[in-house]
Amino acid sequence: MTSAYDKPIPIPANEDLTRPFWEAAKSRELIIPYCKSCTNLFFYPREVCPNCFSKDLTWKTMSGKGSVYTYTHVRQAVHPSFQSANGHIYAIIELAEGPRMPSGIVGCEPEEVYVDMPVSVVFEDITEEATIVQFQKS
């Protein structure tokens, strides 16, 4: 990397809780919290299952396939590093397995994105330590 990454990096609310997610992302795997007690698959990670309150939780590997549930073309960015002539897409991805997650859409122009567009996961190493999960048109 020639220049330092200047966009916001993920700041975990509870780093012990979500460390497996970020470690998995580094090794090119998308994992989502799963409740062994009631089989609920949910996102974002919580210390107890939001369906049954169980703490018997694990992680499930996702296919990495999904679709754009909705999106917005951000023209006025939160952070100067996101500001560009044509803005960027902030999307909510619905994974094939059900849960939804926020993501950028990489590899295409903002104008190409549409609701229900099929996408697949990409992993972006943003620093030595951090890899974020993004999606691209599939």
């Binding site: 990096i9 993920p10 975990p12 917005t72 073309h73 951000v74 803005g87 902030y90 926020p102 974020i132």
Partner: protein, 370 residues
């Protein structure tokens, strides 16, 4: 037990919403609004024995600033819904006999944030769901991004157009021209101006988004028995309903549906009225799209039909069905959580017959969505 008719709004006070009040603070603006509401009710501060705030203004700090010692005090901490929720809590408090006369007050000073060294209006500080899952993907300031997501989905599901929602912003600006307390008083805009304003979070445009402001608002609620001997025609609370939604927009199942589906149903059931009985309405409007969805969810129009409704309906104070008669937050400005409170204040103002040149023709029954 129902709260129907158990609370009477007998005084209102509003510090005009402005972009900034140099040299002022939230507590100072709240105190000023409280004084206006007390004077409007024709009572003294010694008559106040209850206090409800938005929770940003801490009840002990407000009580101390005003030198009052109420028998009941709480802050509701309900974000944008704080004004309506505080009104509900105050009604409940006087109805139960915990106290008799409640001051509800909230306000905002953008300089306070500066003084504390925080950027104003940039959402949760520190580690949060937002900082971990949203901000790395470029979530924009405040709530803009979430409402852009909803707007896109509403267009997708119902064919709503930007032109249709621009009409909402233009109608409300017309109303604000008759409201000296509105930040955009004296600045007319057309639907085309709204459509031509720059995109913030496409499809959401600048003139469909609130502007953070300074100001404060207060009201006095008492029992109907006490209200009878007071100087103003009271605005009675006939029904209340609350439904708690998610803190983060992307956690909701349906992006085009709001908790107003349940809260309005509950309020109407308590009141004994139906949506067709409502004469005018004040709807929380941090963004056009939120008010649009809430008006649908309230049952005032069919789900998905808000676009055609705005095309066909004059919603100005002079119109067929007046909405946000003071300009709403879009044209009135958003002084923190007093922004949402303005809807309660304006609803009461109209019913009390105090709306001056923007007084609506039929002003007996108002639906407020905070």
């Amino acid at each position: 037990m129902s709260l129907r008719g158990r609370g009477a709004i007998v005084g209102i006070g509003e510090v005009p919403t402005r972009r900034i009040y140099e040299g002022r603070s939230m507590y100072g603006l709240c105190a000023e609004a409280a004084g206006l509401a007390i004077a409007d009710a024709g009572i003294t501060k010694d008559d106040i024995d209850g206090l409800v705030t938005d929770g940003v203004a801490l009840p002990p700090a407000i009580a101390e600033y005003l030198d009052i010692k109420p028998n009941f005090a709480t802050g509701v901490s309900m974000q944008g819904a704080s004004g309506a929720t505080a009104t509900m809590v105050a009604t409940s408090a006087v109805s139960s006999g915990i106290c008799n006369t409640v001051l509800v007050v909230m306000g905002n000073s953008r300089q306070d944030a500066e003084r504390a060294g925080r950027p104003a209006g940039r959402g949760a500080a520190g580690p949060s769901v937002r900082s971990e899952w949203e901000e790395p993907h470029g979530m924009a300031p405040g709530a803009n991004t979430g409402y852009g997501l909803m707007y896109r989905r509403h267009i997708h599901e119902y064919g709503t157009t930007e032109d249709q929602l621009a009409k909402m912003a233009a109608d409300q600006r017309f109303n604000a021209l008759e409201n000296e307390n509105a930040v955009f008083n004296g600045q007319p805009i057309s639907k085309e101006d709204v459509l031509n304003s720059r995109y913030i979070n496409e499809p959401l445009k600048l003139l469909e988004s609130v502007m953070p402001c300074d100001g404060a608002a207060a009201l006095i609620i008492t029992t109907p028995e006490r209200a009878k001997n007071m100087k103003n025609k009271p605005a009675y609370v006939l029904g209340v309903g609350l439904k708690q939604g998610e803190a983060n927009i992307w956690q909701r199942d349906k992006f085009t549906e709001t908790p107003a589906v349940d809260s309005v149903r509950r309020a109407l059931e308590m009141s004994g009225y139906t949506p067709s009985d409502i004469e005018f309405a004040e709807f929380y409007d941090c963004y056009t799209i939120l008010a649009a969805m809430c008006i649908e969810d309230a049952g005032l129009v069919e789900k998905g039909e808000i676009g055609p409704f705005y095309e066909e309906t004059d919603t100005t104070y002079k119109g067929d069905f007046p909405i946000n008669t003071d300009g709403g937050q879009l044209s009135g400005g958003q002084p923190g959580l007093a922004g949402g409170f303005r809807h309660v204040i304006e609803g009461a103002r109209q019913i009390m017959g105090k709306a001056g040149s923007r007084q609506v023709e039929k002003s007996d029954l108002c639906l407020v969505n905070g």
